[in-house]
Each structure stands twice: as structure tokens, then as C-alpha cells.
């Protein structure tokens, strides 16, 4: 047996990569393979179990106890798999249900989708104006191309301080001969300052009807949150621009109103 092995090894050593030396056909290959197998580089034939052997996939065990154990494992696996699958489906359902649930939560708590609680009238009552921070608010008025109103602000600018309520006016005129219904939205620049800009009452997001040749004053009652003065990002902000845009409200058209109304 030893000699047999030695011969195989020698053939490997002599010819290196070449498995078919001219002097030794077939037979040396076989012996070389057997030699390598003995060295342990190739897979052991089935039947011989190593220390860290896994249970076989096929129920090849004839031992009844082992078979019962395998059945037990299989049953447990199935249970776990069912639980995991149920959890996955539950998660998927929860992610779909989250949208209306969140909407419901916002309606009940009145937060309206904003992360910060809305500014209540108590805050307005108790807020103290920050007199050393004067901010210039300029007004801009725009009209959609299809709306034939003359819409413009009645003052170009106003100087306010945070924590002080202010009133501003826009004027709109309907020069045509038929009543037109408009609806407006607003924008505040710079973007970060817009979060501190609170409107107590204005004329936006609701349909406003102007009769032929009618001219009305549209007030905006607003204030800038006193916390504006404490925000480090707002240190260089001295100018805020409030811009209103009017669109024509068509019959049956429903514009998306912000907040969960």
C-alpha cells in the first residue's frame, strides 16, 4: 500500500501539471487521484462523517429516533417560517395603513401635518415684540395668465418687528363684464424665514368672487414669530418677501388646500 502511494506521488512530482506522462498512461492518473484523495484535498466519499457534519437533506436515516427528530425539526422550521411570513405580510399591511392612520391622528390632534404644534391665539396674546430687530416685508402680487383681474399690493413695503401683528392690503379689480372667481396662494422668500411667517387671517386658499367692475381691498393680518430673533440662521435676514398669486377657480375644480381639512 505504501509503495502504491509512493508511486502515485512520484508521478505527480515528476510531471507537475501534466497528468498524463507519456511513460505512464491512465494507471498513474488513477493512482495520483487516489493519492490526492488520501491527502484530503478532495471531497470525502459520502458515508464518512466529519466532526461538523450537517444533517442530510434527504431522509436517508433509517434510525427511527433520528427520523422522528428530523420530523420534529421540519415541523418547527415550518412553524417559524409561517411566523416570519406572517410578520412580513403584517409589516407590508402596516405600511399601507399608516397613511390614513396618520391623517386621522393629524385631524384629532389638530397638528395638520406640521411637526410643530400650530400657533394658538394664546401665543399671540402673550408674545412680546422684539423691538431691536426690524424686518422689511415687501409685497408682490401675481396673477395667472388666464385670470383677468388687476391685482396689486397697496404698499410696497412695511417695517415690522418679530412678535408684532401687522396689517397689509392688496387690491383686486375685475375689469371684465362677468363675475370671476379667483383663488390664491402665497409664497414667502427666503425659504427658512417662511416658517416664522404666520398669517392670522388673509384671503388665500378660499374662492373669492368679484362681480363685474368691482374693486375690493384684501387685507392680510400677519406676524413674524418672536423666535425668529433667536434663530442663528436668521441673523442676516432683514428682508422678507410675501408673494401672492391668484388663479382662476373653475367650476368643479378643487384646488388642493394645505393641511388636512
Amino acid at each position: 500500500m505504501g509503495g502504491f502511494w509512493c508511486r502515485g506521488w512520484r508521478s505527480v512530482a515528476l510531471c507537475g501539471r501534466c497528468w498524463r506522462p507519456p511513460a505512464w498512461p491512465g494507471r498513474s492518473v488513477e493512482s495520483a487521484e487516489r493519492g490526492l484523495r488520501r491527502l484530503g484535498t478532495w471531497k470525502r466519499p459520502s458515508g464518512a462523517r466529519g466532526p461538523a457534519a450537517q444533517p442530510p437533506r434527504r431522509p436517508a436515516s433509517s434510525n427511527p429516533f433520528q427520523r422522528a427528530q428530523e420530523d420534529e425539526w421540519r415541523r418547527r422550521n415550518k412553524t417559524v417560517l409561517t411566523y416570519v411570513a406572517a410578520a412580513a405580510v403584517g409589516m407590508l399591511g402596516a405600511s399601507y395603513a399608516a397613511v390614513p392612520l396618520y391623517r386621522l391622528y393629524c385631524q384629532t390632534t389638530g397638528l395638520g401635518g406640521s411637526a410643530v404644534a400650530g400657533h394658538s391665539s394664546d401665543q399671540i396674546e402673550n408674545m412680546v415684540p422684539v423691538k431691536d430687530r426690524i424686518i422689511k416685508v415687501t409685497f408682490n402680487a401675481d396673477v395667472h395668465a388666464s385670470l383677468q383681474w388687476n391685482f396689486r399690493p397697496q404698499q410696497t413695503e412695511i417695517y415690522v418687528v418679530p412678535g408684532e401683528t401687522a396689517l397689509a392690503f392688496y387690491k383686486a379689480k375685475n375689469p371684465t363684464d362677468k363675475p370671476i372667481i379667483g383663488i390664491s396662494t402665497y409664497n414667502v422668500v427666503p425659504f427658512e424665514a417662511g416658517q416664522y411667517f404666520n398669517k392670522i387671517q388673509c384671503f388665500c386658499f378660499e374662492e373669492q368672487r368679484l362681480n363685474p367692475q368691482e374693486e375690493v381691498d384684501m387685507p392680510v393680518f400677519f406676524y413674524i414669530d418672536p423666535e425668529f430673533a433667536e434663530d442663528p440662521r436668521m441673523v442676516n435676514v432683514d428682508l422678507i418677501t410675501l408673494s401672492y398669486t391668484f388663479f382662476e377657480a373653475k367650476e368643479g375644480h378643487k384646488l388642493p388646500v394645505p393641511g388636512y381639512n
Binding site: 395638520g112 406640521s114 400650530g118 400657533h119 391665539s121 399671540i124 396674546e125 408674545m127 415684540p129 423691538k131 397697496q154 404698499q155 410696497t156 413695503e157 412695511i158 417695517y159 415690522v160 418687528v161 408684532e164 401683528t165 401687522a166 396689517l167 392690503f169 396662494t185 402665497y186 409664497n187 414667502v188 425659504f191 417662511g194 404666520n198 398669517k199 392670522i200 387671517q201 388673509c202 384671503f203 388665500c204 386658499f205 378660499e206 373669492q208 368672487r209 368679484l210 362681480n211 368691482e214 375690493v216 381691498d217 384684501m218 387685507p219 393680518f221 406676524y223 388646500v257 394645505p258 393641511g259 381639512n261
Partner: protein
């Protein structure tokens, strides 16, 4: 609603006003108060702090003519003016 339709940038979220929308003053009932306020603004170089009395008068006119939900003026930020008023009345 900013028109920069970038995916990552935060867009401006317009908020509805706290007390809703002003009904339109179709008959110009409070126009005189508005004119007084605008004149005050123009005289005082558009400083809001100096014209708060006129704005208070305008809002009171609206409330009287049912063009605005009546509300105590302190809740509208005019508490400092209300504190002065009783003093002025005494004089």
C-alpha cells in the same frame, strides 16, 4: 409653492391662515378705515409699529360689520394698545 422641482430640496409648504380667510368687503364698508391706515403708513414711512391704532380700528370695523369673527383684541396682539386705552379714557 416654489417652482424649483428638485428632488432633494425642501419646497415651501404654504400654511392655511390661523383664523381662515377674510370675507370680501364687497360694499366697501370699512374703506374709510383702510384709507386712514394707508395714509398713516405713508406718513410714517411704512413703519407698522406707529400705525397700530389704525389697524386696530380697521379690524374693529370689520368685526362690527360682521366681516370678521369677533374676537377680543388681546388675542390679535393688541394687548399693549388695550392697556393704554383705559388710561386714555381716564384722562
Amino acid at each position: 409653492m416654489s417652482t424649483a422641482m428638485n428632488f432633494g430640496t425642501k419646497s415651501f409648504q404654504p400654511r392655511p391662515p390661523d383664523k381662515g380667510s377674510f370675507p370680501l368687503d364687497h360694499f366697501g364698508e370699512c374703506k374709510s378705515f383702510k384709507e386712514k391706515f394707508m395714509k398713516c403708513l405713508r406718513d410714517k414711512n411704512f413703519e407698522n409699529a406707529l400705525c397700530r391704532n389704525e389697524s386696530k380700528e380697521y379690524l374693529m370695523c370689520r368685526m362690527q360689520r360682521r366681516l370678521m369673527a369677533p374676537e377680543p383684541l388681546e388675542k390679535l396682539g393688541f394687548r399693549d394698545l388695550m392697556d393704554e386705552k383705559p388710561e386714555a379714557k381716564d384722562k
